[in-house]
């Protein structure tokens, strides 16, 4: 019977981590539905970006208020999680505060004291975040894509944090032995008096309760990630690693198009020649993207990484002037559709069955896509190197090259370029007239 808590703990841990692993595998499978891109170049710059942008939060603090608040929660989250290590060891081996046995009391006290202060700061910050979303109603949290689940999700995450931080502090406050050491209880010493009338036995029950709820809460939170916008706490790192390194203005040149163009321009090419061995594999089924499978793995990783902060949308000139386009919605739609495709595959024994839907039209409309000025404000703003613009461009490519569905003025512009080398209907012979005017 004495081992019952240990066994229960091990089972809880296995279920918690097991289910999470299962979903991570699903996430990786879904990302791999996108086409492969080579991002093996310039590893040193990629690691530098991870250190500066992801670890160092360099782009977060460009907006100082939300940036610094976020740093508090981020640092708090990472450091307080060291405590989880102790909880796991205690839980598995039936010890109590193993840290006290292996570390000098002063060091242990310093660590726990730091955790307590951070927990308190996180609590305050999370309350400020909640106020920004629900009382101050900051414009970027009030856009049309932020109703329903995305709004609830944002708040649920904040509630989770409040509960976890409170449990941590209560656990310390009701630990009679820990309080009697009087080191490290920087915050909890002020909470302990709230429980002063209680017997030691009751206190022990509360302490154990808080301890169990804390670790169970963490495991639930871990598993909540996959269903929430909050995956960024993990995916921000690989996403920044795979982020763009070229100048932001450089859009990729489609290789499949290059092949065809070279063939057209080559006077020696035989248009009726049989394709070379293996050449067929290189030609994509379509130009541009109409669904998630046409996007790259990095674009799909982008979609899972987006935490819906809306900095992109708040800087988007189209959105600022009331157009339907919201770069954040582009990312949310991509993720929602990817999840739908993933579930479809799960339901059909690993095979995607056409559901008559696609990203273009059912999620993202042509009106949104044509409102983009390709100004890169969204790309510049994203604190974790997401590129909504690349998805917009790939979908425009599909509209134009597969469906000839550009707005009619743009078709005129393009036929002008084809016919006389300028977007306007002027004669190429007149190009130098300005010299003598």
């Amino acid at each position: 019977m004495t081992y019952l808590p240990n066994i229960l703990f091990a089972i809880t841990l296995i279920i918690g981590i097991g289910y999470f692993t299962k979903n991570v595998k699903k996430l990786i499978r879904n990302i791999k539905l996108g086409h492969d891109v080579d991002a093996s170049n310039n590893k040193s710059q990629r690691w530098k970006n991870v250190i500066n942008i992801a670890l160092g939060q360099s782009k977060m603090v460009r907006r100082p208020i939300s940036g610094l608040l976020h740093v508090v929660v981020y640092v708090g989250f990472i450091i307080i999680n060291i405590e989880v290590l102790e909880i796991i060891i205690d839980g598995l081996f039936g010890t109590h505060r193993i840290g006290l046995k292996v570390l000098p009391v002063s060091v242990y006290g310093f660590l726990i004291g730091t955790f307590e202060i951070l927990a308190c700061l996180v609590l305050i910050t999370v309350i400020v975040f909640w106020i920004r979303r629900n009382v101050l109603k900051l414009a970027r949290f009030m856009k049309s894509e932020m109703t329903g689940w995305p709004k609830t999700d944002g708040n649920l995450i904040l509630y989770f944090e409040v509960v976890l931080m409170t449990l941590f502090l209560v656990m310390n406050a009701t630990d009679v032995e820990f309080q009697s050491l009087n080191t490290g209880n920087v915050i909890s010493q002020y909470i302990a008096p709230w429980f002063s009338g209680l017997t030691e036995g009751t206190l022990h029950i509360i302490e154990r309760g808080a301890w169990w709820l804390h670790i169970i809460g963490i495991l639930i939170f871990l598993n909540y990630l996959y269903f929430s916008k909050h995956l960024h706490i993990i995916l921000a790192f690989p996403n920044v690693y795979f982020g763009g390194l070229n100048p932001q203005g450089q859009f990729n040149n489609l290789d499949a198009v290059t092949k065809e163009v070279k063939l057209m321009m080559d006077p020696d090419a035989d248009p009726f020649a049989a394709p070379a061995e293996g050449a067929e594999d290189d030609i994509p089924a379509k130009f541009g993207a109409s669904d998630v499978q046409d996007l790259s793995q990095i674009q799909l990783l982008n979609a899972y990484t987006c935490t819906e902060c809306g900095r992109c949308t708040s800087a988007c000139p189209a959105n600022l002037t009331g157009k339907k386009l919201s770069p954040r919605k582009i990312m949310m739609d991509t993720r929602d559709r990817l999840e739908e495709v993933g579930k479809n595959i799960d339901a059909n024994n690993g095979e995607f069955k056409d559901d008559g839907k696609q990203l273009l039209g059912d999620y993202i409309t042509a009106e949104e896509l044509w409102a983009c000025t390709t100004c890169n404000a969204c790309v510049e703003e994203c604190p974790v190197s997401i590129n909504p613009l690349s998805i917009i461009l790939d979908m425009r490519r599909y509209l134009v090259m597969e469906q000839s569905a550009a707005p009619s003025e743009l078709n005129n512009m393009m036929s002008n370029i084809e016919n006389n080398g300028a977007p306007w209907p002027y004669n190429q012979m007149d190009r130098l007239n300005w010299k003598d005017e």
Partner: protein, 263 residues
Amino acid sequence: MSETLKVKTMAEFMAEGKQPEILFWVGSAGSYDDRAKKITKAFVKILNAANVDFAVLGQEESSTGDIAKRAGNEFLFQMQAVMNIELLNGYEIKKIVTCDPHSYNCIKNEYPSLGGSYQVFHHTQYIKDLIASGRLKVSGDTYKGKRITFHDPCYLGRANNEYNAPREVLQNTKANLVEMKRHKSTALCCGAGGAQMFKEPEKGDKDINILRTEDALETNPNIIATGCPYCNTMMTDGIKAKEKEAEIEVLDIAELIANTGNL
């Protein structure tokens, strides 16, 4: 004021068996648009004043394909690019300067993987170098004490991280440079990019150029400086819509420099 512009084509250089120092890529707007042509000429005056042995492609120049690419027509873009690259490589062009940030970005970043690698300058970068090397002397009080606000073109700024060259060049006008709230990496687009110049905007509650003009008006400027022919059109339209054209001028940096130097 020098009356005649010295402009030679690449074909003329070729016939003389010479190579120019640099090729001036005029671009479609700079060649055909009445407002942009003034910018082209102002820049030529600067090149002439600095004795730069430059060439233009003239009738051989064709759209870079940039707008087509951003509209989603990768085929048309690559057709234009491959054609232009063949021409540029045939003339053994090494250096290119342009007043259009879209051409600048496209040739600099998107032509190399299609076989066209050149050293490409935006005209503000080139003017900056001409002044720094002493080849171009700009002095004059035309704009002394005036308030100038500079609107960053997306394809020079965010797209290529060039925020300083235009500002450094503007110092030579002796004007007071005042920044809009949104400037450099947070600058708001004028609304013309991504082929928007050639279509009606989608339904919304305001045009982008009006919002950007309001940004500029907040600085209470005498002049709005631009570095892109499309931005120039958008801001000029914005100023007209606000009925401020009597008080505020929209001028390209090349024009401001040419006017300052009385070129």
